[in-house]
């Protein structure tokens, strides 16, 4: 049976409803903070704002603390309620998503570090515009993955997950231009490398957004689609998804 947002809160025990709602709310709050961290980290590079970058690095500890506290809440639910079926999948999906969010937070602070270094050295290499573009795209993926989680929307989760291969391609092409740039201008190497690491962090964030989408499918359909070909999964899922 496929759970929906509405009937997921129809437990006889109101306290159980409240506990699940609460932990879901905290996960989304953490998601909101992580999105903001990511946006700030991207701006730190795109606007050469080292103060903003430093703030992102500082605030990563808040994201870490949220991970620990949400995990704790999930532990308590598992111990007290022994949830089954979609409730169990919800708790597991939250545990996994929170882990991915924490990693996105880490990647955002790596981007912020690159931003701080780049702005300290003044002049930016080429590629900042491309970086901002890919950054916005990845940030949108994270945002939509969390949105799919709130709405239990497997269709949109799958289509967001499939975008990850485009992100990978864009990362590869950024890497190729970076290599050319470094070959032609050896004095730019350390700057270009800093930017390249930021690109790499974006690529990783894309992977984590994809993971979150997979957790949504697991939560709603009960099927683990990790390591499976997403196009095949999509064709198989459509007839059963309604």
């Amino acid at each position: 049976m496929t759970p929906t947002v509405k009937n997921h809160s129809h437990h006889i025990s109101r306290q159980f409803n409240a506990d699940l709602e609460e932990v879901k709310k905290h996960m989304l709050e953490m998601g909101g903070l992580v999105e903001k961290q990511l946006q700030d980290a991207i701006n730190a590079i795109a606007d050469a704002d080292s103060a903003l970058g430093s703030r992102v690095i500082e605030q990563d500890s808040i994201v870490d603390a949220m991970e620990v506290s949400i995990d704790e809440e999930c532990n308590l639910i598992l111990a007290r309620r022994q949830p089954a079926a979609s409730d169990l999948r919800l708790v597991l999906a939250i545990i996994k998503t929170v882990r991915d969010l924490e990693r996105i937070g880490d990647e955002a602070s790596k981007i912020a570090k690159s931003g701080v270094k780049l702005s300290e050295r003044g002049e930016f290499p080429n590629g900042v515009a491309e970086f901002r573009q890919l950054g916005n795209r990845v940030k949108k993926m994270v945002n939509m993955a969390l949105d799919a989680f709130t709405r239990y929307d497997t269709e949109s989760a799958l289509s967001i997950a499939m975008e990850d291969s485009d992100v990978d391609n864009e990362y590869s092409s950024a890497m190729r231009s970076a290599i050319n740039l470094m070959t032609d201008n050896p004095d730019l190497i350390s700057k270009v490398l800093n930017l390249l690491w930021a690109f790499r962090a974006l690529e990783r964030i894309g992977d984590h957004a994809k993971n979150i989408c997979e957790h949504v499918v697991y939560l709603v359909a009960g099927t683990d689609i990790r390591h499976e070909d997403l196009a095949t999964v999509a064709t198989k899922m459509r007839p059963t998804s309604d």
Binding site: P3, H10, H11, A84, A85, R89, T223, E228, K236, T240
Partner: protein, 288 residues
């Protein structure tokens, strides 16, 4: 046998899910290898009425695999105990209880006229919620079934009593007090003694009706551990209100509601991803 009977290895509701992912296909296969062909009990179109007006079971069809644990869950009054009692014809003892449909034990109709009910109840043993040892010694409790069969050889009885108590994981605790009164044992020990008494007559099927619900958590775990060992030799059917217990001990689970068999599937599937909303609502404690 007709094909419309629910078979846990090929759940009709789970078809989409099976095709959905390669992992499911793999899992499905490993189970069907050892269960599809060897069903111990087959229930076909079973209807049960109490006093003509009250129907307790409505057209129940299912196959119960041999040497596996099958759990029956559902709210009070859903018919799970009534169904369990059909398997050794305990309902025969109730006046104006009418049973229609067939139950086959090893392809033999247990409601056929020629069936010797006493022999059926030897083959299909039953253990109840409240331990019910006889007010005799531990030894005589276990030997009872053999004695009424006319077996009195001390050598044979000693051996069967020891083996049954070992199988019931009770031997170590009672071997020095075999001739003490069984009513002096603790509740958990009494329940294991009753299980030893049941398996002493070498049944094929064990029916357990809430076997652990009157026991403390440790005794409950011992019974669950025992069920796990016993399934190597017996087909076990268990009725339980403790859903975590059903999830822990059983291979297959049947969810019943108002006399209907709602969903019957592998326990792992039923407790993580049931096909029907009604099942999901019950196992997750929702009001639907």
């Amino acid at each position: 046998m007709p094909n419309d009977i629910q078979d846990p290895a090929e759940p009709p509701m789970g078809k989409n899910r099976v095709e959905f992912s390669a992992n499911y296909l793999k899992r499905e296969k490993t189970v069907s290898n050892n269960s599809t062909d060897d069903n111990c009990l087959v229930v076909k179109g079973l209807n049960l009425f109490y006093a003509k007006t009250k129907q307790a079971l409505i057209d129940v069809n299912l196959k119960i695999p041999r040497k596996r644990v099958t759990a029956f869950i559902g709210p009070s009054g859903c018919g799970k105990s009534s169904l369990l009692r059909c398997f050794n014809r305990m309902n025969d003892l109730i006046d104006d209880c009418v049973i229609k449909g067939k139950i086959y034990l090893d392809e033999e109709d247990i409601y056929a006229k020629k069936v010797d009910v006493a022999d059926l109840r030897r083959r299909v043993g039953m253990v109840f919620q409240k331990p019910n040892p006889f007010p005799k010694s531990v030894y005589e409790n276990v030997a009872y079934g053999l004695r009424i069969q006319g077996i009195n050889s001390k050598r044979v009885l000693d051996e069967v009593v020891e083996n049954s108590l070992i199988s019931a994981a009770l031997w170590g605790e009672v071997k020095d007090r075999l001739h003490d009164n069984a009513l002096g044992l603790s509740g958990g020990q009494q329940q294991r003694l009753v299980i030893a008494r049941t398996i002493a007559v070498e049944p094929e099927v064990l029916l357990l009706d809430e076997p652990a619900s009157a026991l403390d958590p440790i005794s409950t775990l011992k019974i669950e551990e025992l069920i796990n060992q016993l399934k190597e030799s017996y087909t076990i059917l268990i009725v339980t209100h403790n859903m975590q217990q059903a999830a822990r001990v059983s291979d297959y689970t049947a969810f019943m509601h108002m006399g209907n068999m709602v969903e019957y599937d592998q326990t792992d599937t039923l407790f993580t991803n049931p096909s029907l909303k009604q099942t999901e609502d019950y196992i997750t404690g929702r009001y639907g």
